[in-house]
């Protein structure tokens, strides 16, 4: 699998960040659908369409975990990386106990450079090259 086929669904309630990540990831060969609103993202979500979800955790109305659970019901196999600007230890319990059960590996911390984000996502997608 190479970059050109990887489609990412990105949800971040900060429009500036959603846009910056979209541009940055597309520069690195990903195809990105970005939403600043999880409900909009959900209504655009289709089975088998996305290789990876990149979800901000702290969002008003519906947080990243809840959005993921709803998407997982539609597509059980979709992979996910969570990203947060909060203190990491806040999610320590969730990371240790719930992540392994859900098959989630990554909790990415903001702020992050685009190159580092790209390599984290590539790890998740397990590129052969």
């Amino acid at each position: 699998m190479n970059n050109n086929e990887s489609r990412i669904l990105l949800v971040d309630d900060e429009p500036d960040i959603a846009l910056a990540f979209k541009i940055g990831l597309e520069d690195n060969g990903f195809r990105v659908d970005a939403f600043d609103n999880p409900s909009k993202a959900l209504s655009n979500f289709k089975v088998g369409f996305y290789d990876l979800l990149l979800l901000d955790i702290k969002m008003p109305k519906l947080n990243g975990f809840e959005a993921y659970q709803q998407m997982k019901q539609i597509d059980k196999k979709v992979k996910v990386c969570f990203i947060t600007a909060s203190e990491m230890h806040y999610y320590e319990d969730i990371r240790k106990e719930i992540f392994p059960k859900l098959g989630v590996k990554s909790l990415i911390r903001k702020p992050i450079r685009i190159d580092d984000l790209v390599s984290d996502l590539r790890d998740e997608l397990q590129y052969l090259v």
Binding site: E14, D16, I17, L19, A20, F21, I23, G24, D27, K58, T84, A85, S86, E87, Y90, K110, P111, I112, R113, I114
Partner: protein, 313 residues
């Protein structure tokens, strides 16, 4: 053993290894024909009460502090991420230069405001807030601020009317730090504007500001100024009301969430009070603060009264 009084209870373990059973140990521990011994048990229990209350207060404060740090760090990291990313992307995307520079500018401003607010909160909490007190004519001060806001409203084409009622001839002098007073009034106006604009777009909104002299209610013959800012906005969510002036008041998309906490601290350190309520007509909210009038002015005003009583003689 549980020790219970009218409002608290405490669980205590008394160890008396020589005793055979509980009653014996209690008996041995408490039995005494010396009043001093009983008094000393009483003081031990008092100490334990206080320690427990202190511990609970400490735990609560610690939890609040951790939550504050979490919220603050989220608010700091978010605009930092935007600035970081756009500075990386700018070179590669000259065609989007305008848009990216605006985004960076927006987020830098957000960071600047947050830095100021967090530092203010730190100063307030450590009681190192420095004030430069001088006599100020608050009526005129508010006038100037209103003018700026009217210009801003016009410039942004906001559909909000700003009214200011104040008797220009009456001098209302307070002893206050000018910059901090401006900070409070601006914070309240910013909020009023924000919540009035966010209501249904087509309707127009209004903000009414008043400043008037009043005698204080505690009968000490002092006077104060009452400044109120009434808006026709979305009103205050009853859920947020109890923590409105704390550091944990939620914010809208813009704003740091710390403004009201800082405003309250500034007003209180000047000897005043601040409060808020939803308007009785269900349309928006009113924020009010009071400040004691300068002693000088109150003295000046006493004099005319004296001379008129002289005249009657």
């Amino acid at each position: 053993m549980y020790i219970i009084d009218g409002e608290r209870f405490l669980r205590v373990e008394l160890k008396e290894p020589q005793a055979e059973n509980f009653s014996e140990s209690l008996g041995r521990a408490v039995y005494s024909n010396s009043k001093r011994s009983v008094e000393s048990f009483k003081s031990i229990f008092e100490l334990l009460w206080n320690e427990r209350t202190l511990n609970e207060d400490l735990k609560r404060a610690d939890k609040m502090q951790k939550e504050f740090i979490n919220i603050a760090s989220h608010e700091l990291r978010t605009p930092t991420q935007a600035i970081l990313s756009y500075s990386e992307l700018l070179q590669k995307h000259p065609e989007r230069k305008e848009e990216m520079i605006q985004a960076m500018s927006r987020n830098a401003e957000r960071l600047r405001k947050l830095t100021d607010d967090i530092l203010d909160v730190t100063r307030i909490e450590s009681e190192t807030l420095m004030l430069k007190i001088e006599p100020l004519n608050i009526g005129d001060l508010i006038s100037d601020i209103i003018e700026d806001y009217r210009n801003q409203i016009e410039k942004n084409n906001d559909n909000v009317e700003l009214h200011y009622y104040f008797e220009p001839k009456t001098k209302i002098i307070v002893e206050a730090d000018r910059a901090r007073l401006i900070q409070v009034i601006s914070n309240l106006l910013d909020n009023a504007l924000k919540f009035t604009k966010s209501k249904v777009e087509n309707s127009s909104g209004s903000i009414h500001v008043t400043a008037e002299k009043k005698d204080t209610e505690n009968g000490n013959k002092k006077q104060e100024v009452i400044v109120s800012i009434k808006d026709t906005g979305t009103g205050i969510d009853p859920e947020i009301m109890p923590r409105l002036f704390t550091k944990f008041a939620t914010k809208s998309e813009i704003g740091t969430g710390l403004g009201l906490f800082i405003s309250k601290s500034i007003i209180e350190v000047h000897g005043g009070k601040i409060w808020a309520e939803n308007n009785t007509d269900g349309n928006g909210a009113t924020f009010t603060f009071s400040l004691p009038l300068s002693e000088q002015q109150q003295e000046q005003e006493q004099e005319p009264r004296l001379s008129s009583s002289n005249l009657t003689l």
